[in-house]
Homo-oligomer: 326 residues x 2
């Protein structure tokens, strides 16, 4: 049997880069990438093309039938579109159905969170997921929890400033005890490759994880590995909720502002992860997810402690270092 052909959208993004690396390392697919006409000249795309990866070009916002013609011959379509473009996947899913593709992986790749006014970003993903199901389109939903790369506070010495954002995770939420599904961004693609190769995951939701940790545990591990002491400031549940309300008001005043939108995403992530405590294995299983660690016991992802060592050894890259949101 010839290799299945996977087409990846968003290959130069954070999640997409990890997926591309994971698919190539897995070595069981013919991997191609889908690029917008405006991105053909980007150096990242030229680099991938030079590596021998076939590039297909399509205007994903154009007529559906034009997109269908670009998708012919593809077996699996993986969408790692940007967080603020989720609804562009409505037409993409329609085209994927028309092209007879055997599996569509929409851009979930996030924390466990129920739909229905907890997180705006999750509800946009739900709109896409509902559309997929209305189409009777074979799919796999993959969520990865939160990245290690976005879960660390700064160290007093400044040693990890190269890979973190100023002020990020400077406070803990509630009592800091809510457990969360966390994954090394570098492992996302290794999981995705295994999941989309697997017939058991067809028309299912799957979550993957490297570690299940509370914020207190993340702080503890960073202290142990670095030998430094971290101050702990706790934000009350009421304040976390108030931040959601405030961010939502700002967005209402300026709905097309992408930064303001990301502000809502961020506040709602904190609320869902730390106050509702949604992003944990028990809740994922309740919501119908399969556990990738049970499906692939032989694949051992990086633990958070290992990541922390890499972080101190300057082996980690700051996410969004190409300043995607500017």
């Amino acid at each position: 049997m010839s290799k299945q052909r996977v087409l990846l959208l968003g290959a130069t993004g954070e999640t997409g880069s990890s997926i591309l690396t994971g698919l190539l390392a897995f070595d069981k697919f013919e991997v191609e990438i889908l690029i917008r006409p405006s991105s053909t000249d980007k150096p990242e795309v030229e680099q991938l093309s030079a590596k021998g990866i076939r590039v297909r070009i399509a205007d994903i916002s154009g007529p559906v039938d034009d997109l269908v013609s670009v998708l012919l011959g593809v077996d699996i379509f993986i969408s790692a579109i940007s967080g603020t473009s989720q609804l562009a996947q409505m037409d993409i899913a329609t085209a994927v159905k028309k092209a007879g593709i055997k599996r569509f992986v929409p851009c979930c790749f996030a924390t466990i969170c129920p739909p229905g006014n907890v997180m705006l970003l999750r509800d946009e993903k739900e709109e896409v997921n509902q559309h997929i199901k209305k189409l009777f389109l074979p799919y796999t939903i993959i969520d990865v929890g939160y990245w290690y790369q976005l879960s660390c506070p700064r160290l007093p010495s400044g040693r990890i400033d190269y890979a973190t954002f100023p002020g990020m995770n400077a406070s803990l939420h509630g009592d800091g005890e809510a457990l969360n599904i966390l994954t090394d961004l570098r492992d996302v693609g290794h999981f995705v490759a295994r999941i989309v190769y697997d017939e058991r995951t067809l028309n299912k939701s799957v979550f993957c994880w490297g570690d299940i940790l509370s914020e207190n545990q993340v702080y503890n591990i960073l202290e142990e590995v670095s030998g430094e002491k971290l101050e702990r400031h706790y934000i009350s549940a009421a304040d976390v909720e108030a931040r959601v309300v405030h961010a939502t008001e700002l967005l209402r005043e300026d709905p097309s502002n992408a930064r303001t939108r990301v502000g809502v995403y961020s506040a709602q992530y904190d609320y869902s992860k730390y106050i509702r405590a949604d992003n944990r294995p028990e809740y994922a299983k309740y919501l119908g997810y399969l556990d990738a660690r049970e499906l692939y016991p032989n694949f051992v992802p990086k633990g958070f402690r290992e990541f922390a060592v890499d972080l101190l050894d300057k082996k980690v890259v700051r996410p969004y270092s190409s300043a995607r949101y500017n």
Copy 2:
């Protein structure tokens, strides 16, 4: 171990009556019913009470904490609330969660249909289902397809007029070939009893069925059993869609009119069942449902042919014979 206590809401309705009968026949539960204060004097309620069934009384639209106190000691709550009161289940689910009930069965009991603007009734059920999942409330969703009792056209002789509605199923839809999940209303409760007794169905969706038939097959069986010839009028897919548009417009003009609302439900049922062909096992399984026939191979429900014989033998009751919608 003592028997689990099941509390049933809507016990005097069509689906609720079948569920009550099924629960009692199964003989593994302590069965109680929940009644609104305004219904305590109804003869049907008095009959059930006289049979020894414990009656709990609560205003389901009142304060949630009052409802919680009425629910204490219940293990399983089954809601067979009327089709037009779906959203009253929002507060009920909150109360059920607060009361620590181990399983909530919301009022689904309908055809397979995806959420997202296919059927208004389905979208109201989805709002309840999402609320349940946000609450992390243990649940089982049960769908039963369409009832045999509402799937028959009139026979020219008038022999089954006693149990059917004038004009109902007088036409077939599209080419009449779309397969549909059908169940004898009398078997709904027998399925429900087995499903809620079963740990495998916790936090799952389950569909049950007696037969999988197209409209043409329903007509064929009725002809064979009765010896009468049925005329076949086919409504085109375009006309079925146009009826949905028309019914929706009428409801927009008069949103609080219950009859108009039922008109929308009816037109959308036809569209979903016969044009989208949603109500079939393959699609149910794709949407994540378990098949009750696979779970309970020893329970043999009535087939449609058997129902048709009963119908000709005057053994069937017309649904809604207490004229619930008047």
